[in-house]
């Protein structure tokens, strides 16, 4: 080009070798943001999309109007779910490294988003997760054995070998199937919620996507349909700052919060500290009440950080400072809840260590059981004929023929 480019390109605050830089992050002190009535008209509560709802302060106390006043027992359960999620993730990561599963995605650093939300919802609310919401299954009681078997594509795999690891689903638990195509679940959740409204039921749909995925057309369709039909849905953008190698500024975060898209479409938007278990729980309760009473949908932006690499296929050190997470101003969700419980006098380091050990053992035991149902490389395995089932409700003639061909091929004929 003859002339110099005038194109604006979003800045990434820190790359490998740079010092971590979170000065771009707009924070609010814990307790600062007001808590309007859940039935408030959306237009009067735009401030929720700009501030940051936080409950836990730096002294590990719960403060301000969003304090959800949960039982210590409930908080301990939340801590347990987060720790189990993390123990499970850690183990699967190591297992992938050892070659026993092909692929894995951790939710490290984002456990509060799934766990606190699932705990604030009813079991009959339908969840449309992304691939980083394994905590939902944990809260709803899915044995991690089942999740492991899925990752192994073994004879107990809920997906019957048809999906990549982590692409779980659970009809009984009201958790929808995960697609590899980003964001498609977002408008589907709105359709589900519309159906609930049409049927006169008061169940909600809740869906999660990453901030990078908010660029997809599905994001727009979800917000638009939710707005037009006032669907009983909670739509969550999990802003963990990164989309593989791409900083959130490239998804529009440089200009405005993701929560602010909500008011643009005429629906409530709330920006919440995604690493603050109490704040996430409180905001979810608020949005659920709002949706259930017919006051409309809510877009929640969870501000958090993807502490792990994108997946086991990724190496985050290529594109961001190694110590980025250590410097993230919102800390770690597990540590923060733990410290709060200790501050309440309801927890201790010793109990914590014991719990971690117990969960590790549970995970190890589950893994042992899981491999007994087969692995990629040995043990019992699924019949490849399963590939021809469930394409349609009934297998049509051409697939029957192809199955026969495949069986002949396998038999060396």
């Amino acid at each position: 080009m003859v002339k110099k480019s005038r194109l604006h390109v979003p800045k990434t605050p820190a790359r490998p070798g740079d010092a971590p830089d979170f000065s771009y992050l707009k924070l609010s002190p814990a307790g600062e943001i007001a808590r309007p009535d859940a039935g408030s008209p959306w237009s009067g509560i735009r401030f929720l999309a700009e501030g940051l709802v936080r409950v836990l302060d730096d002294q590990h106390r719960a403060v301000g109007p969003w304090h959800p006043h949960l039982d210590p027992g409930e908080l301990q359960i939340g801590l347990r779910h987060m720790l189990l999620t993390r123990a499970f993730d850690d183990r699967m990561q190591r297992i992938q490294r050892s070659g026993k599963i092909s692929f894995y995605i951790r939710s490290y650093g984002e456990e509060a988003v799934s766990v606190a939300m699932a705990m604030a919802l009813r079991p009959t609310d339908m969840l449309f997760p992304s691939y980083r919401n394994q905590g939902l299954h944990v809260v709803r009681g899915r044995p991690i054995l089942d999740l492991m078997c899925q990752c192994l594509s073994n004879t107990r795999d809920m997906c019957k070998g048809r999906q990549l690891p982590v692409m779980y689903h659970w009809r009984e638990g009201n958790i929808f199937s995960i697609s590899g195509n980003l964001a498609t679940q977002f408008p589907q959740a709105v359709g589900w919620a519309m159906a609930a409204a049409i049927k006169g039921e008061d169940n909600l749909a809740v869906s999660w996507i990453g901030e990078g995925s908010s660029a997809a057309a599905d994001f727009h369709h979800a917000l638009l349909f939710a707005s037009v039909y006032r669907a009983p849905v909670i739509l969550c953008v999990v802003n963990n700052q990164w989309a593989i190698s791409t900083f959130q500024g490239h998804a529009g975060g440089e200009r405005e919060t993701f929560a602010a898209r909500g008011p643009g479409y005429g629906i409530a938007g709330v920006r919440v500290d995604g690493n603050d278990f109490l704040a996430v729980h409180a905001v979810t309760q608020w949005a659920a009440e709002r949706a259930r009473t017919g006051a409309g949908p809510t877009l929640i932006e969870h501000v958090t950080y993807r502490a792990a690499a994108h997946s086991t296929s990724d190496d985050a050190a290529r594109y961001r400072p190694k110590d980025d997470y250590q410097k993230f101003p919102l800390g770690d969700p597990v540590e923060r809840l733990k410290n709060h419980l200790i501050a309440l006098g309801e927890w201790s380091d010793a109990r914590h260590q014991a719990l971690v050990a117990e969960l590790d053992e549970h995970v190890a035991g589950s893994w042992k059981e899981a491999v007994s149902f087969g692995t990629l490389t040995g043990g019992p395995s699924l019949d490849p004929g399963l590939m021809f089932q469930d394409v349609f409700a009934e297998m049509p003639e051409h697939l029957r023929r192809q199955e026969a061909e495949m069986r002949a091929e396998l038999a060396g004929k």
């Binding site: 929808f176 498609t184 709105v190 359709g191 589900w192 057309a217 727009h220 051409h398």
Partner: protein
């Protein structure tokens, strides 16, 4: 039995299902108060209310996605895409989601959505009101793909589609909404009341998805076709005085290969006719399947008659559209080949 055109037949199918089954809902652009730009949903909102027959935003991707979500929540949505030419913004939700939800969830979830969409040319609609994109759906595992050629089948297939537990892409050849069309735009329009397939049962009935129909039996050769081209082919064969067997495919997926192959194996000669552009069109699959199965019976190459491989050209519609002359030429070539 009643006299119906295709619009009335389709309307009757939805009316019956909306009345019988509270889980059936209809959604799409202008389908509610207005009753659809082709009036296929006329009167349904008045009868079943705004929550069962819904006007939607102009977002085909959103319409399909919402329909999927509704279906997962137990409804049976019938989504209208105003013209098949506008289905592409919904393509990801159809291909990556609708077609695979049952598969990827190992049968735990299903999405029994019917996507109705008017297709085809011959109405001076130009590039974006004339396309026949059926091949782009037939290649996608997990979708049923249907196109009726008359009011009777339109109603029976639509009821079957709505009742089907799998997603169905339902193409409506709009050129024959009001009457059969033999490809000659100069001839006065003929209403469906002049055609035996304009007789349609008033109540519930189905035409099975996955079954072709022998629209006319014959011995000289087999014409495999669907939609508007059933009528054009019939006229072309009659014009040549040929005793052609005409097979109306009706369902592209799953294809009734047995019926089609049996006919071609018997006649030894075959012409495939469709409106869509030729290259990599659905005719290619028909030709390949027939060749594989009937090779030793073939007495002449199987020929394809189709739209040319260009975008739909407004002013040259009748030079583009496969009319009787183009079909006749292929019929002659196949009959004369030896």
């Amino acid at each position: 039995m009643a006299q119906m055109n295709m619009i009335q037949a389709l309307n009757s199918a939805m009316d019956i299902k909306l009345g019988q089954d509270p889980s059936v809902v209809v959604l799409g652009e202008d389908v509610g108060f207005f009753g659809g730009v082709f009036r296929v949903t006329d009167g349904l909102q008045r009868k079943y209310g705004e929550s069962r027959v819904m006007d939607t935003p102009i977002a085909e991707g959103g319409i399909i996605a919402a329909a999927i979500g509704m279906a997962v929540n137990g409804l049976r949505p019938v989504a209208e895409i105003q013209f098949a030419d506008y289905i592409y913004p919904g393509y990801d939700q159809i291909v990556s989601e609708l077609a695979r939800i049952r598969y990827r969830s190992a049968g735990e979830f299903k999405a029994p959505v019917t996507v109705r969409t008017p297709c085809g040319g011959g109405i001076r609609g130009g590039q974006t009101h004339s396309q026949s994109p059926e091949a782009l759906f037939a290649h996608v595992a997990g979708l049923r793909v249907v196109m009726p050629s008359n009011p009777h089948d339109a109603k029976g297939l639509l009821i079957a589609a709505i009742e089907d537990d799998d997603p169905v892409i339902y193409f409506e050849p709009k050129r024959i909404y009001n009457g059969p069309f033999d490809g000659d735009p100069a001839k006065p329009a003929v209403p469906w009341s002049t055609h035996p397939k304009g007789e349609v049962p008033e109540g519930h009935f189905t035409v099975p998805i996955g079954k072709a129909e022998i629209a006319r039996s014959g011995n000289d050769l087999t014409i495999v076709t669907y939609g508007t081209m059933v009528h054009v082919s019939d006229a072309a064969a009659k014009g040549l005085g040929l005793d052609a067997e005409i097979i109306d495919v009706r369902t592209m997926v799953p294809l009734d290969a047995d019926t089609i192959c049996a006919s071609v194996a018997r006649t030894g000669r075959c012409v495939i006719v469709h409106e869509a552009t030729r290259f990599a069109g659905f005719g290619a699959e028909l030709s390949a399947t027939l060749q594989e199965n009937c090779f030793w019976n073939l007495e002449a190459p199987i020929l394809r008659v189709a739209g040319w491989d260009t975008p739909y050209p407004h002013a040259f519609e009748w030079e583009y559209f496969p009319g009787q002359a183009r079909v006749a030429k292929a019929l002659k070539a196949v009959m004369e080949a030896s």
